[in-house]
Symmetry: C2
Subunit: 83 residues, 2 copies
C-alpha cells in the first residue's frame, strides 16, 4: 500500500447560475478591480492509502460521484499524486 | 493587452479547525470509504486582461489579499495562464 493524495475539483457546469461567484465578482469590482469573469469551485484533497495510483483514482472517483459532486449541476476533475 | 486566467486556491492554514471538511470526511466514512485526511479549499478562476502574465499575477495577488483570503487563517497560491 502506498500513500496518495487525490485532489478533486468540483465546478458548476457552464450555464448554472452561481450567486456566490457573482457576489464576489461585484465586490471585487466595487474595490476597483476590473475582471471579465469569475468562477468559483470547491476543491477537496483526499489522503488515502491504495495499491496503485489507478486504484486511488478509482476510489476518489467513487467518493466524488457518491458525495462530493452532483452530476446534474457539477463537472469535476481528479488529480492523483503520491504523497 | 492579453487575456489571462488566474487560478487562486485559498486553503485554511494547518491547525485551523475546519468543521465542513470534518463533516464531509465523516459522511464519506459512513458510506464505507477509508481515508487518512480530507482538506477542503476554495478555488477562484479570475479571467482578466493584462499587459503580461506578471501584471496579471500582481492584480490577482492584490484581489486575493484584499478580498478572497484572510491572512490570519488562510494560505493561498496563484497560477496564471494565458487564456
Amino acid at each position: 500500500m502506498s500513500e496518495y493524495t487525490a485532489t478533486v475539483t468540483v465546478r458548476l457546469k457552464a450555464g448554472v447560475h452561481d450567486p456566490e461567484a457573482e457576489t464576489t465578482r461585484r465586490a471585487l469590482e466595487r474595490l476597483g478591480f476590473d475582471l471579465s469573469a469569475l468562477r468559483a469551485a470547491d476543491q477537496f484533497e483526499l489522503d488515502l492509502d491504495a495499491e496503485s495510483a489507478e486504484s486511488a483514482r478509482e476510489r476518489a472517483t467513487e467518493m466524488t460521484e457518491r458525495l462530493l459532486a452532483n452530476p446534474t449541476i457539477h463537472d469535476h476533475d481528479i488529480e492523483v499524486e503520491p504523497r
